[in-house]
Amino acid sequence: MISPLEARYYRRRVPLLWWARRRSYLTFMLRELSSVFVALFVAELLFLVGAVAAGPSAYARFLDTMANPAMIVLNVIALAFLLMHAVTFANLTPRAMVVRVRGRKVPSRAVLAGVYLGWLVVTVFLAWLVVS
């Protein structure tokens, strides 16, 4: 038996790398880590804007930098994290909000289908904007 005083000051020791011990915790941490890659890619976009602002040769140098194999590897890793973020965020939508049509709750599958359709529309629109 421990005394109430001891119980009051009891703190369970948590190892520093507690999230490395269980797969679900590790997945959670990797998902949270996607924020680093979101910030990284926004920085890349800002470099693109800066290069276009600086002129055609700076834009060409930007494209060369992006074609560097190390940069491509980094961006493929970033893409994996961004897709993980996008899928986990999209799948949260039916839990985060209840959509009602004429007082009836829209099934979460329909909400999810709407989210993915919206993603597709935005993707096609942005690709058209850049490439066309």
Binding site: V14, L16, W18, W19, M29, E32, L33, S34, S35, V36, V38, A39, F41, V42, A43, E44, L45, L46, L48, V49, G50, V52, A53, P56, Y59, L63, M66, A67, M71, I72, N75, V76, A78, L79, L82, L83, H85, A86, F89, A90, A96, G118, W119, V122, T123, L126, A127, L129, V130, V131
Partner: protein, 120 residues
């Protein structure tokens, strides 16, 4: 003042986090596929300079891109703040970590505003 009546910025930050997460999920993957993978590998021809300049000088693109940058940076800062605090158990240093994260996001937003509305 009793704790339950205290007003904090937290709900507002969570709102921005959520909005930024939606924007990051919708808009960033396609741009990363294009500029980070498809164009560098030659799957898609790089847009020529006049097209990029015209695109980025369009007021709607400027506003849209600034909104995307601002929301996603605040989202990333908010998430990184709690990731660092939870992963490395640094909750007691919340003041410093939060300042660094949101400060970095604000610096990025300022850079985006300058690049989109003054430099180009």
């Amino acid at each position: 003042m009793p704790a339950e009546n205290r007003t904090t910025a937290e709900p507002f930050l969570w709102l921005l986090f959520s909005a930024g997460g939606v924007v990051a999920a919708l808009a960033l993957p396609v741009l990363l596929v294009l500029f980070g993978v498809a164009i560098p590998l030659g799957w898609v021809d790089a847009p020529d300079y006049p097209h990029m300049l015209a695109l980025l000088r369009n007021p709607l693109t400027r506003l849209g891109l600034l909104a995307v940058c601002a929301l996603t940076l605040v989202h990333a800062a908010h998430r990184l703040r709690f990731t660092v605090e939870h992963a490395l158990r640094l909750r007691r240093h919340d003041g410093i970590i939060a300042t660094a994260c949101y400060g970095g996001a604000l610096a990025g937003i300022a850079a985006a505003a300058y690049l989109l509305f003054a430099a180009i």
